[in-house]
Assembly symmetry: C2
Amino acid sequence: MINRISSMKLAERVREGHVRAIARLITRVESGDPEVRQAMAELYKSTGRAHVVGITGVPGAGKSTLVTQLVLEYRASGRTVGVVAIDPSSPFSGGAILGDRIRMGELVSDPGVFIRSMATRGTLGGLARPALDAVDLLDAGGFDVVLIETVGVGQDEVDIVRAAHTTVVVNAPGLGDDIQAIKAGVLEIADIHVVSKADRPDSNKTIQELKAMLMMSLEPGEGVWRVPVVPTSSEKHTGFGELMAAIDLHAEHLEQSGEITERRRQIALTRVVKVAEEIVRDNFARDSRSQTEELLKKVTQRQLDPHGAAVTLLKAMKETIHESH
Amino acid sequence: MINRISSMKLAERVREGHVRAIARLITRVESGDPEVRQAMAELYKSTGRAHVVGITGVPGAGKSTLVTQLVLEYRASGRTVGVVAIDPSSPFSGGAILGDRIRMGELVSDPGVFIRSMATRGTLGGLARPALDAVDLLDAGGFDVVLIETVGVGQDEVDIVRAAHTTVVVNAPGLGDDIQAIKAGVLEIADIHVVSKADRPDSNKTIQELKAMLMMSLEPGEGVWRVPVVPTSSEKHTGFGELMAAIDLHAEHLEQSGEITERRRQIALTRVVKVAEEIVRDNFARDSRSQTEELLKKVTQRQLDPHGAAVTLLKAMKETIHESH
């Protein structure tokens, strides 16, 4: 592309708070543009100010509605908010079926709000790396709070919320028999539980079940974070102020207890591992015409097991990891 | 442990079809026992006979009930079936809350059926590697069909079903507004769609919506697989024979079209990448007292970005990858 603005130049603009530069760099990050790497490394130095909140829960739990309401609360409290929403990819539509996103429309004209919906990638690649790069961009761009919303629950999604300071798990009453956080295996990662649709009569049962579960896991001692259960209702517009207060309280707890140090280490570890995984995947794919194909053939023919092939490829990889990667 | 039977010896017994040996090796695989590695490499040579079916869908879609019914169909057709069910981990319970598993109880006394429920690992590690090792064990142990059921939908779960010959996506009517396969981003990975709970009046809407979606994505041409939509009802005991027939038809299609070659390559690639990712994670964790901690500290202090740290660690890793890993 002729006269394309460099990612380095865009990074400068991000630091000055230009949201359009943020949007453009997210696009480059998503497309796997190699030129963006150095700019992201540079921008990383300007991160670490924003409070990052991961919001997760099973499909249908009401996460997008909750995010919209939470953003409004933050705005009312005078803070700016960036949102990274990770949407399912679909070969049929880039977004037309994503009705949830449309409900966020009321927020798009507010310059103190930036919402970016990212596609999950259909290929054998994680969604964590580009999503967390987007969080960095919003952080470096000066947003006070960054919300990451993940649709669905799985390992990669769990890893994404592991890269947040505060994790909110959203449960809706009556979705299946059991508490969804249990079914989805994310009960233990919650710093805060939300029971959405709390106007519904069956919400009390969900709230009580969650509280009972949390009681069982309660560690004794002073200064331990007690995971709260916050009921919210978008019908009645209740609970979102309480949710924001709970997030603020958790942020305060992290600082005062000193837990923030271990949390930051955990976030760094998650990010480094996710990047390393992506480098490995890319490396394997890049050699696809030669050694990789040879090894894959051996694996399909049962002459070599997957572990043996992985070790061989990792050993060969060392020569091909470039700084530019 | 004194007089512990070696994994190599257990592998021999697996090949002779001893299910208890399969169970023991799965346990060793799950615990990350390094001694099991060589045995799995050896056993891998005896795999490749079973037809592997991935079954996925959002929590509450009715996957476990469907698996139970499908197993009964396979048994009635004279085939043996292994099941690997990937359950959420919970700090509270190893399985007491997993009511779904109990419903499978009627099958446990049948020697032609082996069901193993595997915990997702709570740590920064994938669940794909141990789950796919379990599939190998069942394959090598002589089971005709191996079903992998994944709870929840996410990248790692998608990767698991990518390691199957046939992928079945289960949709329940009325779980949220949209078709769950779309919300969860797995519409495109389905070889077969199931609409469960088809006795419910709203199931027709889900079936029609799915069919309309599939029509839109239809590629023209002869010999292209047409993704069927199979309604099932465990209430009325209908549809499970049709589902088995659809899976058999898909297996036949893979062979006749020659697509099986590419599918096998894809499975091998997924497996190799998953193992490589695990090796990288383990390697990073192993060095945790020295270089890794140093780099993580730099990352938290914004002196180094996650990408730079990952490249440094991957380069350092080359010396520490042992065959024994």
